[in-house]
């Protein structure tokens, strides 16, 4: 039973409940769409009175209740990436830090195991858990689309938007992981900083069309490159996905270099 297997075993029930929780949430949101879709035009008209800045906090489309607008505003623009991010940040901040906090890291590093191996196996466990929850969510979304009609939205698009949300969350998980690997931040600080950047980035990037002075700083934030409505319309941009993965790898690389050289405990 290696480090990855032990970590997966330790977290099997929490992973299971994350899958159940997010899966049910997505299934529920998609299942109740038919009750809105019949009166979508009328409702959308009344929602047009909402100021742009407020609307942009909830969706990246101009309408709330078109098939794409509904999926984006109720599911994939905010809540799914945010929930994935909470999971990834929680994992990133605890995979190494908990071992160090509990001093069990000494048991591992007194074995013939390099620090790089330890860090990569911990990162691997985090990736598997987050990806499992992401894939289950994507699968639930795809299956629901087989039964509920969202005109113009294909199951593959729902799958891809979930994968994009997963990449977005992994980036923040990697940030939390890197902060703990540096050894200068505890678990709490790692969660706090990562969550602040995720939520703050979301607010800044959401408002950058209304508040033009935010446009420049927004370019440095991952949320700026997350456009679920476009993906749901069938315009998946691999470059944005690869970019998020590249930043995730970069953060893991920094974690690796820092962790190899620093004092433990």
């Amino acid at each position: 039973m290696g480090i990855i297997a032990t970590e997966l075993k330790r977290r099997k029930w929490s992973t299971f409940w994350w899958c159940v929780g997010i899966g049910l949430f997505v299934a529920f949101i998609l299942a109740i769409y038919p009750s809105f879709s019949s009166s979508s035009a009328q409702l959308d008209k009344s929602l047009q009175n909402i100021p742009d800045s407020a609307r942009e906090l909830f969706t990246d489309t101009s309408d709330f209740l078109s098939p794409v607008g509904y999926l984006s505003s109720q599911c994939y623009y905010l809540l799914v990436p945010l929930l994935f991010s909470f999971l990834a940040i929680g994992l990133g901040s605890s995979l190494l830090a908990r071992e160090e906090q509990n001093h069990t890291i000494e048991l591992l590093l007194s074995r013939p195991l390099s620090r790089s191996q330890l860090l990569l196996q911990k990162a691997g466990a985090g990736l598997i858990i987050t990806a499992t929850v992401g894939l289950v969510t994507a699968l639930v979304g795809g299956i629901m689309l087989e039964f509920i009609t969202f005109d113009g939205v294909k199951p593959l698009s729902v799958f891809l938007v979930t994968i994009m949300a997963l990449a977005f969350a992994l980036l923040f998980g990697a940030l939390a992981f890197m902060l703990t690997a540096l050894g200068r931040f505890g678990r709490g600080a790692s969660i706090g900083i990562s969550t602040l950047l995720a939520l703050g980035g979301y607010i800044i990037a959401s408002l950058d069309k209304t508040l033009t002075w935010l446009a420049w700083p927004a370019k440095f934030l991952p949320f700026h490159y997350y456009h679920p409505a476009d993906i749901l319309r069938g315009h998946f941009t691999p470059g944005e996905f690869v970019g998020m993965l590249a930043v995730t790898l970069l953060l893991t690389g920094v974690a690796l270099v820092a962790f190899r050289r620093r004092d433990i405990g």
């Binding site: 000494e106 048991l107 590093l109 004092d263």
Partner: protein, 300 residues
């Protein structure tokens, strides 16, 4: 390769931001089949030494090697030969004893599963319960088993008998003896003088990060063999005894004194025959006294 399996060469450690060294120019060697006791007060540098040997801490200067391999550059290779028990053992509380041992064996394969089972039996370790439910002593048993189960060439143990009952302490001493017999080097940090005296061949005293003295138990015993505690019916003849060649006299009260003498004992006994001696005791090795000597008087 020489038979020095553990070598520290002017090993120093200064923590980030600290003005003083926690470990300064410590050099020592531990040979095959030797048990080395590392004694020092809290904060003297014992744990820093051990943690640097395990490469948990990066040395500021100097070097250390285990089985001829550098503990920093060849850290992974070094750990193939090392069994380690931390001072405050931290275990995975959610795992049962068996799951924990399996996990450790997976990270460092054991030579014989039969030997692991034997250790479990000898230490009467309950492998079925989650480790978090066990008492300190029972957790310490798992700490010892995981350190010894792969039959390492070098054992590094920090306060190994902490929490063990006398029967299990005996079992631990047997384990150390067996390890020594098969040629393993054992490096033990301890506060327990009787335990160190019982199992160690050589002792190093560390104070304020510096190794202030090293002595073999045989030297200490030899030294102690020439120290006598005397009780007289009349007033103790302090001035007469002080005139003996190479004698050191420490009066305790009017009737009691301690005399240490080097070389020939005949002049001492000739002098004593002229007095009414009611009690004569040859002193045994007193590590605690040696330790206090280094700490209270600033070492030799």
């Amino acid at each position: 390769m020489s038979n020095k399996q553990l070598v520290l060469n002017r090993l120093s450690k200064r923590y980030h931001g600290a003005k003083t060294y926690s470990l300064q120019d410590v050099s020592l060697e531990v040979g095959a089949g030797e048990v080395y006791g590392f004694l020092g007060a809290n904060g003297a540098g014992k744990s820093t030494t051990i943690r640097t040997l395990l490469n948990f801490l990066q040395p500021t200067s100097g070097s250390a090697s285990i089985m001829g391999k550098d503990v920093v550059r060849d850290s992974v290779a070094v750990k193939r030969h090392v069994g380690y028990l931390a001072g405050e053992i931290a275990l995975y509380e959610h795992l049962t004893g068996q799951e924990f041992l399996d996990y450790m064996a997976d990270l460092q394969p054991v030579k014989s599963t039969g030997y692991v089972a034997e250790l479990v039996r000898r230490f009467q370790a309950d492998t079925s319960k989650p480790l978090g439910t066990l008492s300190k002593g029972n957790r310490q048993k798992f700490g010892l088993i995981q350190a010894a189960m792969h039959q390492p060439e070098v054992l590094i143990l920090d306060e190994p008998t902490s929490g063990l009952d006398p029967l299990m302490q005996e079992e631990f001493f047997r384990l150390v003896h067996e390890s020594k017999q098969r040629g393993a080097s054992v490096f033990v940090s301890s506060h327990n003088f009787s335990e160190v005296q019982r199992m160690c061949d050589r002792i190093g005293f560390i104070r304020e990060g510096k190794l202030v003295a090293e002595q073999t138990l045989a030297d200490l015993a030899n030294q102690a063999a020439h120290t006598f505690s005397l009780t007289f019916a009349d007033t103790a003849p302090v001035s007469e005894l002080k005139k003996l060649p190479q004698a050191q006299v420490t009066p305790r009260d009017d009737h009691h004194l301690t005399v240490s003498i080097e070389g020939e004992l005949t002049p001492l006994f000739r002098l004593l025959s002229a007095h009414h001696v009611t009690r004569l005791e040859q002193q045994e090795v007193n590590l605690e006294e040696e330790f206090m000597h280094f700490y209270e008087k600033g070492g030799k």
